[in-house]
Amino acid sequence: MLLEIFDPKAPPRAVGIDLGTTNSLVAYVREGVPTTIENCHMETLVPSVVHYDPRGHTVVGKDAVPLAHEHPRETIVSVKRFMGRGADDPETKRLGPYVFMPADPSGPNTVRFDVRGKPVTPVEVSAEILKSLRELAEDELRTVGGCVITVPAYFDDGQRQATKDAARLAGLDVLRLLNEPTAAALAYGLEKKQNGTFAVYDLGGGTFDVTILLLEDGVFQVKSTGGDSALGGDDMDRALFEHMLASAKKEASTLTPHEVRALLDAAKEVKHALTSADTVTKTLPLAGEPSVTVTRAELDTLVAPLLERTGQASRRAMKDAGIKPKDLDGVILVGGSTRVPAVRAYVAKLFEHEPLSDIDPDSVVALGAAVQADLLTNADREGEVLLLDVLPLSLGIEVGGGVVDKILARNTTIPTGARNTYTTQEDKQTGFLLHVVQGERELAADCRSLARFALKGIPPMPAGLARLEITFKVDADGLLSVHARETTTGIEQRVEVKPSYGLDDDTVERMLTEALDHGESDLLKRRILEGRVEAERVASATEKALANDGHLVSAEERALIESATRALREAAAGEDPQKIRARLDDLDRATKEFAGRRMNVAVARALAGQNVGNLEEGVKHAKGVENAHVERPID
């Protein structure tokens, strides 16, 4: 191990990151075993707390926790609950003692904390946490080669985009956003079973997710997901907080922000103590130091309505997946809040199965993310298991009367696309205003607004003649891009759906420069390093492709590709990131057709395997044999 750590040529290693509401962790696969990375105090959990000191410096993690008491407004806790939220979101006001900047009508519609008079976005706060995780990983691995970051399955497009932006800001290359429940299933090594149906019940600090997973022939498929992005252990703490406050005969409105925070922490401590004890007596950190006693039965009563909400979502997820509790092969618990005995009892009853919980529920998600990072980057594990994820919430367009026209339904396997055609309502209408929303409700006003944009310059025509084709594309991270085209004139517009909440590339670049101590020179070094890593990755992938599928290229093509690969390696040896980028683009062009042909071969091979299967089936079903012999060229 020591040799590996100090080897200056140690290859970059991909890591898995759980960016949690309460705690965050980073893990990687060491000699085949997923392992969480510790700091020098042997701690793996980094509290998701960021303090901003008067000089504008940040304190992250454990050292920031006590500062939350003294400086509740300058110390951001549970920032995950603010990710991707709009400045006008009423929910944000409910979520803590913070002061917010007024909405900026010219900038992106994102909530901004007012920290000592300066605006700080949730993306920036999360980036601080990710930076400290990156440093932790770099201490252990020297170079971090990309990461898998987990998000609640229920996260919408804005929340996912915000998470990815935070990672970019922290200088991390995101290989994949992975849904937390799927990560948990990987951590339990369920893929080794090859087949089965599983439920993952994830009750974290601030979010609840339930996911039904189907494993067939080594392909993990999310059959359905449900949950609540604003329900978790924090709500238990708040219920207990109110109960304790009432017992002490105090009014919440009379408390200072400091007392609110201290009492919430006291509530959390009482909750933890009731995991093993039946009765807890606590002196409250309030004037007069009142003492209250809480029993486990009282806690059970307080959390019952919260659990019932998780039950509704779970029953709906089972229904969406078309299964009953008896069809399940196992239930997995994720999230620190599942330590509460009432939660375990409720889950066992709900799913009619004793839940699995032998992996620490606080690390299980990070460990699973590490497994996925390894699966994605370790050539030895190619083809071992594949995760097919789904769109968590329906995507649509607002049409007449504020009604949503759903274009992609939730639980659709991703990556995917869909299109729909609309027309003009009025004569001589020369533009369309498009409003893209996400959610299950019928009215756009009740859904999450993702983007508004206009398609202009359509020549005046009578109403109903123009044809506006809207195309939605969702990538494997669940992120949407929209493309609009007026088909009679060919006027087009393409939008990444981020203007409402996300950051554009220029903003990230500027923030990165500002964030680094030595600004541009540090950034240049980082760019060179990143360029070299990618150049080596692409060059060796190209050589491997030529070695495996060399028969798909002509002699001239091969010569062209080989010289482009050489040129890339030469550029990578230099100090100019732009030159590396240009050579990468050259090689990309040189291999474009080769890549297409290789893809066709991959498809043909996959279908050939299928046809053999059909042949066997065909013995029983004559129709199957007919299908088996239909060989259709794919493009």
Binding site: V219, L376, P415, A606, L607, Q610, I634
Partner: protein, 173 residues
């Protein structure tokens, strides 16, 4: 896009769902972006485009309604743009009556009546599927009466969803 050829299938209304799911898994294994994380950008793009098309095609073929719509389009009778023929008055009467019966059964919390309506709708649903199968078994262009089957299929599906919601309500109380 012909969703059937995208998946290497013949364009028939009868589909072996198990085999279809296996094809989808096999193609996903070959094309999913996770398989191309280390690949050059161009290859990643090509794979993503193909994976998107495979998932779209799978969705279109798996669901009998979109499968029928795709087959109508392939047989020269594209669906959509409000060009579908109006349903028959008799069918509209049936629709109104079933809706009313379901709403009554819900009001009376009459689980037996709901079950009866469900069985009838399921049988009708099956009949429409069989009729569509017969339409597409013939090679010629489907006529207008065949397109009306789509409206019926949509109705029975929606009705069965409503029945399922009513069942949930009755279970919960």
């Amino acid at each position: 896009m012909n969703p059937f050829s995208e998946l290497g299938l013949a364009d028939t209304f009868e589909v072996d769902v198990k085999a279809l799911e296996k094809t989808h898994r096999d193609l996903s294994r070959a094309l999913h972006p996770d398989r191309y994380v280390q690949a050059p950008a161009g290859e990643r793009r090509v794979a993503l485009e193909r994976a998107v098309r495979v998932n779209e095609a799978f969705r279109a073929v798996k669901d009998p309604l979109s499968r029928a719509e795709a087959l109508f389009a392939l047989r020269g009778t594209p669906i959509g743009d409000g060009k579908e023929p109006k349903p028959d008055p008799d069918f509209l009467m049936d629709v109104l009556e079933s809706r009313e019966a379901l709403s009554d059964a819900k009001g009376e919390k009459n689980a037996a009546a709901v079950a009866k309506l469900k069985a009838a709708a399921e049988a009708n649903h099956e009949r429409v599927l069989a009729a569509l199968g017969a339409v597409f078994a013939k090679p010629e262009k489907p006529d207008e009466s065949a397109v009306k089957l789509l409206g019926k299929l949509r109705f029975f599906r929606r009705f069965l969803e409503e029945v399922s919601d009513v069942e949930d309500d009755l279970d919960a109380t």
